[in-house]
């Protein structure tokens, strides 16, 4: 019986210890674990440091996996053998365990002897910091970049050492540059030594990066303080005078009150409540309630109450003035030591200048892009109005028709690139036909009667707009740009321009070239110019003025249609989109000088620049920008009624 029992126990012991035997207790990683076993088992934030450091410093390939799984609470300690394993719960009582040396599966065992290590969040973040150096040295460059991004997002002092250690053996030059940049940023934030921080700050002077500014800004944080004596010391950022923009009187006085240096000033509602509380028999301090209908009377009543001691004496305006004059207001650096803060402030000031220059470049590009949109919208008018002198108020509606053509094409052709390629000529064809129809039916009866042309085309414009509204509804329709037009050309954190705007600029330049070619180099252009200058003479030279007028008007309208597709890509397609451009387009043509395509170009750039310039001066208010832009144009026409590039001689009288 005893033998039997002993045999049974021995078998049990063998069964239990089998998995333990399967792992190599002498593996270096296990040894390190064993050396620090007590610390790891205790798992306290205060004492765990050496254990993690030992693992991290071991340079063992298995260390990374161990740290990761420890962080994920997958590390188990066998209390009987004292060995560490990775474990995965199979069910309540059994565990699948793996070797910590290489993660290979050992077997499924009862979980009785195994104790899960549950590092608390403090320990987990220490493990995480230790892991960083493994990620920073990972063989895969993408992993290294991810690690850098993660550090940049959420930097901690402990990352700095790991990062510094990971720079020298970085094989990839691009990643190395990123590491170095991040190292300097971390130095600014976390280095102990002020000299190192200042050196790093100075290295970033004038840098446009958002990350740099985000790092430097907390360093120059200040706190508003007040004192009765003149402040001194290196950490004084600046002194302030109450009553200026930087420090309004009320804020200054509130500070004094908060510091307990003066009694609070009386507000109108406090005074009113105090008076109401002290109404006795229809009067307050001897003044009839009915007479308390002016500020002066209320002041008087309150002063009486205060004299009688009924209410607290409160500061009057004169007291406020005296108190403000007696104190010094200043801002104290609280983000960093004075020298570092000063260096950061200088670096930010330099950056400010660079940012200003970059903003200006960005503004110029915005202005050019807006100008090219106006140019595109106006180039059809430059033909119908500039060359033929036909004022077509339905021009905006031709733009709209072009945009809707693009929309309809996209309904049938789902491929965006192909649909745009189809839409451009189709829009030209549709609006060309519409233009020719309009010229034949309406405009040719009204040549030399510009005011009536204006009225008749207004009628057409109203009708077309309503028809579009009836067909397509009032909500905006999308005209989607192909993928290769999405996104923008990013030059740095401030200067960027979207590809659609570049495409519109290119399109505008193409049309400029087309216009110049058609007008100056082709038979059609010659005939157009002849008919415009003197239709009878042209007719006697064998030119058919009717046909030429029809074709020219169709051409101008067709270009409006193409402009519509381009504008639709960048703005929404609505039945009223033409209205948004018609006045600006006419202004562009008039400002530039009627009858001269270069004038239209200059006009478009001028109108675009002025609008963007005004928007820059009054940000968040584009309505005001448009208002002032129109006023500017009205005034501009006062000084150059014939536009920037005015035709001279007989051509001007035509």
């Amino acid at each position: 019986m005893r033998i039997l029992a002993r045999f049974f126990l021995a078998t049990l012991a063998i069964c239990l210890s089998l998995p333990a035997h399967a792992q190599n207790a002498d593996a270096p990683i296990q040894q390190i674990m064993q050396e620090n076993g007590a610390l790891i088992a205790e798992s306290s934030r205060r004492t765990i440091g050496p254990a993690i450091d030992a693992l991290a410093a071991s340079g063992l390939p298995a260390a990374q996996m161990l740290l990761e799984r420890w962080q994920n609470k997958e590390l188990y300690l066998n209390e009987e053998t004292g060995l560490f394993v990775f474990g995965e719960e199979v069910d309540r009582d059994t565990l699948r365990i793996f070797a910590i040396t290489d993660g290979s599966e050992i077997g499924v065992v009862p979980d009785d002897p195994y104790d899960q290590l549950r590092p608390n969040s403090g320990v987990r973040s220490m493990i995480g910091a230790a892991l960083v150096q493994f990620q920073l040295n990972a063989p895969d460059a993408a992993t290294r970049l991810t690690a850098l991004d993660a550090i940049a997002r959420d930097a901690e002092p402990s990352h700095l050492t790991a990062l510094r250690a990971a720079i020298d053996n970085e094989p990839d030059a691009g990643v190395k540059a990123k590491k170095e940049r991040l190292e300097r940023l971390l130095t600014i934030q976390f280095a102990e030594d002020d000299a190192a921080r200042i050196a790093a700050i100075e290295g970033f002077s004038g840098d446009l990066g958002v990350d740099v500014r985000a790092t430097l800004n907390p360093l120059v944080a200040t706190r508003l303080e007040v004192s009765e004596t003149e402040p001194s010391g290196a950490d004084i950022a600046r002194t302030l005078t109450p009553g200026t923009d930087a420090l309004p009187r009320a804020q200054a006085y509130n500070l004094l009150v908060e510091e307990g240096l003066t009694p609070p000033a009386i507000t109108a509602s406090d005074r009113r409540n105090a008076l109401i509380a002290n109404v006795e028999n229809g009067s307050v301090a001897g003044i009839q309630v009915a007479d308390l209908n002016t500020e002066a009377a209320r002041d008087l009543a309150y002063a009486e109450l205060a004299r009688a001691g009924t209410v607290e004496q409160l500061a009057t305006e004169a007291d406020v003035d005296r108190a403000l004059a007696a104190h010094f207001f200043f801002e104290r650096f609280i983000g960093a030591s004075p020298a570092v803060a000063q260096a950061a402030q200088d670096a930010l000031a330099t950056t400010e200048i660079t940012v200003g220059v970059a903003r200006f470049i960005d503004l110029v590009m915005d202005a050019l892009s807006l100008g090219s949109i106006y140019f595109l919208a106006a180039i059809g008018l430059a033909i119908t109005f500039g060359v033929m002198r036909v004022i077509n108020m339905a021009h905006g509606e031709f733009i709209m028709i072009g945009a809707y053509t693009g929309y309809v094409v996209q309904l049938f052709i789902p491929n965006y690139t192909l649909s745009i390629v189809v839409a451009l000529p189709l829009a030209f064809a549709v609006t060309f036909a519409a233009g020719v129809a309009m010229e034949r039916l309406v405009i040719r009866w009204l040549y030399h009667r510009p005011l009536e042309t204006l009225l008749a085309t207004f009628g057409i414009s109203i009708a077309l707009q309503q028809i579009a509204k009836n067909i397509f509804g009032t909500q905006a329709r999308p005209l989607t740009a192909p993928d290769w037009l999405n996104g923008s050309l990013v030059i740095n954190d401030i200067v960027s321009i979207s590809y659609i705007r570049i495409a519109i600029l290119v399109l505008a330049l193409l049309f400029l070239a087309l216009f110049l070619f058609v007008m100056n180099r082709t038979r059609l252009g010659l005939e157009v110019r002849a008919v415009t200058q003197n239709p009878r003479m042209a007719a006697s030279m064998g030119i058919n003025p009717d046909k030429i007028n029809m074709l020219t008007f169709g051409l101008g309208s067709g270009i409006a249609g193409i402009a519509g597709v381009a504008i639709g890509l960048y703005a929404k397609v609505t039945s009223e989109m033409g209205q948004d451009y018609i006045v600006q387009s006419f202004m562009t043509v008039v400002v530039g000088g009627v009858g001269n395509i270069w004038g239209t170009l200059v006009g478009a750039v001028l109108v675009g620049s002025v609008q963007k310039g005004i928007e820059w001066m009054t940000p968040s208010n584009t309505l005001a920008a448009q208002t002032y832009m129109i006023l500017f144009i009205i005034l501009f026409i006062q000084f150059r009624p014939r536009g920037i590039i005015a035709l001279k001689g007989r051509a001007a009288e035509a």
Partner: protein, 419 residues
């Protein structure tokens, strides 16, 4: 143009020389009396108060059309800004109406307070009531006179008058004429409406001014009566405006401005200060438009920047063109006819037209019809509805190849016609 053709009779009353004025005034009087008799407020109640208001508003539109006819039909300046002056007049009176009424509400709500309100408290209360919607609580400087009816009434005339004077002076001085002037006035209108659309313009942004139909201090009077008062006021203003315009266009002054319309350069060579004449007509008509607006908006009850948008001024030109420009009754008839027809069509009363499976709803298609009929009128009937009167009176005018009146080639074509 009966009133033009009669300068040869030197003596006699003004209206005797211009029978059309007498006929018009008689028609207006009959209309007013008829409406009064049929009204709910003072008569047998056949016409509803809302219809009375529509009629009253139509009279105001006739008045602004009269101004448009004077500046366009007679002086040849196609202004696309007169509805802006109309709107400014409405804003000017609306500020007083809104201020005074809000003041009464605020004073009433403060009257139960333990202490009698101070002027500052009342002013703050009014400001937060009026400007709460645009997130402000202080009065902008332009509301400085809103407490005073006489000052705001003066503003009805002065503000649009000054704007027209300055704009006109700038435009006419630099010899901007014809379509350029039209586009410039349109730009001015657009700028003004965009400005008013901002929340910090001081006029409540796109909320506009509302509750204008309630006259301060007259809460006890029903809208039935108030609508009649405004109808009478509008009729009176229209009658006076008509007589005034007829007087302006009948004398030597009228001859000069018509000459400016037909050939500006020749008039200038004859020694007339063309710019001064145009500026005077432009400013005068702007003021008439503003007065019309000041009468219109208390009847409409609400004004917002959309009313000032360029399209409104274009519709004004449409009315005058359809009625027949260059004759005062034409403008009145055109404005009344088109605006009442618009109300009828867009109000949903007009029966739908069914073409096969397609159902043509006038609410949607009326604007299309209006736009196209405008094109047809411009092309085929430049005299507009007024031309029908010529058919009846069998008055002949030179065949101007369809170009009736206009500053451009009209006179040249007239010469050709006479050959």
């Amino acid at each position: 143009m009966t009133d033009i053709a009669a300068p040869s009779s030197p003596r006699g009353a003004f209206v005797m020389r211009h029978p059309s004025v007498l006929i018009f005034l008689a028609c207006l009087a009959i209309f007013t009396v008829g409406v009064t008799v049929l009204s709910e407020g003072f008569g047998i109640g056949v016409l509803s108060t809302s219809f009375i208001k529509t009629l009253g508003k139509t009279l105001c539109l006739c008045l602004v059309a009269l101004a448009m006819d004077l500046v366009w039909g007679y002086c040849g300046i196609l202004s696309l800004g007169h509805m802006a002056f109309f709107g400014l007049g409405g804003y000017a009176i609306g500020m007083w109406l809104m201020y005074a009424r809000t003041e009464m509400i605020v004073v009433e709500s403060l009257s139960n307070a333990p202490l009698p309100p101070t002027p500052e408290e009342i002013s703050d209360g009014i400001a937060s009531q009026i400007f709460g919607v645009v997130g402000a609580s202080d009065f902008p400087p332009i509301w400085g006179f809103a407490h005073s009816l006489p000052l705001q009434l003066a503003a009805v005339v002065i503000v649009p008058g000054i704007l027209a004077l300055v704009f006109g002076w700038l435009a006419f001085r630099s010899r901007v004429t014809g379509v350029y002037l039209s586009i410039l006035t349109q730009a001015m209108t657009l700028a003004l409406s965009l400005y008013l659309f901002q929340n910090d313009s001081g006029l409540r942004g796109n909320n506009g001014l509302s509750g204008l139909q309630n006259l301060p201090g007259l809460d006890s009077v029903s809208q039935d009566a108030v609508s009649m008062w405004f109808l009478w006021g509008s009729a009176l203003a229209l009658g006076l405006g008509y007589v005034f315009c007829a007087w302006v266009v009948s004398g030597k002054f009228g001859s000069v401005i018509r000459a400016i319309r037909d050939d500006e350069a020749r008039v200038r060579f004859l020694g007339y200060p063309v710019e001064a004449f145009k500026l005077l007509v432009f400013t005068l008509t702007a003021i008439i438009a503003a007065i019309a607006g000041a009468l219109y908006y208390p009847q409409a009850g609400i004004i917002n920047p959309a009313e000032i948008a360029p399209i409104a001024s274009i519709y004004l030109a449409v009315w005058v063109a359809i009625g027949g420009r260059g004759r005062l009754y034409g403008a009145v008839v055109g404005a009344a006819f088109v605006s009442l027809l618009s109300t009828w069509f867009t109000g949903g009363q007009a029966p739908d037209i069914v073409i096969g499976s397609f159902r043509l709803q006038w609410v949607d298609w009326w604007t299309v019809l209006l736009g196209l009929s405008f094109v047809l009128v411009t092309l085929f009937a430049p005299k507009g509805l007024g031309g029908l009167v010529d058919l009846i009176t069998e008055r002949r005018s030179p065949d101007r190849h369809g170009a009736d009146l206009g500053p451009d080639m009209g006179s040249l074509q007239e010469r050709e016609a006479e050959k």
